[in-house]
């Protein structure tokens, strides 16, 4: 079974992608994670520097896609999956647009949950993406968060 791993330069439709993916023959249970560009000011409880007008993800072609493919292969070897999809946008995105879609199909729900969780915890740190946000007309680079390191450490690899 090969994973469907893509770096996408253009916006994609996550509903349509999941619709096709769920038509796989051995897809009894499908877990997916969709990450989208957050709009600013939507969270009444937080005080942020400004609302996000755009997000840019840069990559380095010789490293980024091979790293995503290697991550997908590790997930396929670790869990019994009937299908695996890992799509990631690069370039400039606006609030509400999808950034990443990961989906795993499995006969047993737990396998699919863990595989998607694992890939999300590793995508941020193992793959090569650099992110910056446009706020108040200025681009700001996003540095790694401690939480990402902690998420990664859960898996012991």
């Amino acid at each position: 079974m090969l994973a469907d791993v893509r770096l996408l330069e253009e916006a994609f439709d996550p509903g349509a992608a999941l619709g096709s993916f769920s038509a796989l023959p051995d897809a009894g249970g499908i877990v997916s994670f969709l990450g989208q560009v957050r709009g600013g000011g939507g969270d009444a409880g937080s005080v942020e520097a400004g609302s996000v007008e755009a997000l840019e993800l840069q990559h380095y072609a010789p490293l980024t896609l091979p790293a995503m493919q290697a991550l997908a292969e590790r997930a396929l070897s670790r869990w019994v999956l009937g299908g695996l999809l890992v799509w990631h946008r690069v370039g400039v995105m606006t609030p509400g647009q999808p950034i990443v879609l990961v989906a795993a199909a499995a006969r047993h729900r737990r396998d699919a949950f863990e595989a998607v969780d694992y890939i999300m915890d590793h995508l941020k740190s193992d793959s090569w993406f650099w992110k910056r946000e446009l706020r108040d007309g200025q681009w700001h680079w996003i540095e790694p968060r401690d939480q990402d390191v902690a998420d990664h450490a859960r898996w012991g690899d």
């Binding site: 840069q58 380095y60 010789p62 490293l63 091979p66 941020k124 740190s125 793959s127 090569w128 993406f129 650099w130 992110k131 910056r132 680079w141 996003i142 540095e143 790694p144 968060r145 939480q147 990402d148």
Partner: protein, 70 residues
Amino acid sequence: MSARLVFLGRLADLSGPLVVAPGPLAAVALPEGVLGPRVRLALNGVLVDAVGLVLADGDELAFLPPVSGG
């Protein structure tokens, strides 16, 4: 005869791509701030150590700052 240096993420704010002569990396005048303890290097797509690195004709050396969280 040349090698190419590319700078990713926030390092791209410090310098665009550079064309340099082949030879030891230590002999190249690098833009300030592009080397540091958290910056990794990839030579033609393979992670390498800066120590003792020698650039050959046609090489691409990428300077990679820490990737973003979130």
